[in-house]
Symmetry: C2
Subunit: 191 residues, 2 copies
């Protein structure tokens, strides 16, 4: 097994465990056990916990960039593409209900830990913010585009937070519908 392959498996596993159990609460032993390698071998690939956090954030960024590129090519117009963003709340509902938003909960945890990589994690939000802003601009929203992007991000975070606390599927459906209605009012059916 090549070093790169093992490294990838470590990062993918750490990503899942950080999401499900939190960064601080996930130990090297947890990750090593899940990957089925020894703790000693683990340290061959990553010297510190911050190093693996950095790799996990980079992985999450790459995944989201790829996702937005898919939306870009599959969506016929800005409205449909932004709709795909809103629908994350439906597509990933079970995971969000169990563990919250992967980006929001990581940022919140790193803020409390006063962690140097907090801003790096917040950069994952920026990926969505910039992409959404571009879509709104393409739809002709001009200077308001960034505010609209932030507003959508905000609602997405709020819904994720409350479904994680209350576990109410109907609430999610209602709010996703309201977000689509809000979007139509600002962009129109044509996009």
């Amino acid at each position: 097994m090549g070093a790169g392959e093992t490294r990838d498996r470590i990062v993918a596993t750490a990503d899942e465990l950080f999401y499900a159990s939190g960064f601080d609460s996930t130990s090297f032993a947890d990750i090593a056990d899940a990957v089925k390698i020894s703790r000693g071998n683990f340290y061959y690939h990553f010297k510190t916990k911050d190093e693996i956090l950095h790799a996990v954030i980079a992985r999450r960024g790459a995944e989201r960039r790829a996702m937005m590129e898919r939306w870009e090519s599959e969506g016929a117009n800005p409205r449909d593409r932004i709709g795909r963003f809103i629908d994350i709340l439906i597509v990933n509902q079970p995971k969000i209900m169990a563990h919250g938003c992967p980006i929001g909960t990581l940022c919140a945890e790193l803020a409390k830990l006063d962690h140097a990589q907090h801003d790096e994690a917040a950069g994952l939000f920026t990926l969505f913010r910039d992409w959404l802003r571009t879509q709104f601009e393409k739809a002709g929203c001009g200077d308001a585009s960034d505010d609209l992007a932030m507003h959508l991000l905000m609602r997405s975070q709020g819904v994720a937070s409350l479904v994680n606390a209350f576990g109410d599927q109907d609430f999610v459906r209602r709010e996703v519908e309201a977000m689509h209605a809000w979007l139509d009012a600002r962009i129109g059916e044509a996009g």
Copy 2:
């Protein structure tokens, strides 16, 4: 110094530390040091970490109940009272920017820890939800009242999450204004 007084100081200090640094990351030693008692004495008052978490959640609940009673007596009408809830985002902005929403971040952390007291923490959200629902009912919103309460809670959580990540004051001001406008559209200036 009476036992009750020391206990209160422990709970108040734990409350702050849990908020600023997270539940899991705050150790008994951290709390004991801040209260200026020995670790041994600490265990006279609280046997386990779950016990002190329980006390902290109870304290947060009592504080919020008292706050809502103040709003109830000071606000001339439901609209003004609900406005006080929205304005938390302004009044507590520095703390929220640094550490997020005390309730939202605690719920999120306990969810990741699979902690037995997660639902108890989510009950703090319910306090606001029920109080807001009652205000909307008094304003004549009928069956929609609970949905409106959840919608406001959602936006409050979303703003808290993003200001914690981005540290953007202007964003908060904009969204708080938008929440007031949303409220006026649903209840009207008279309340």
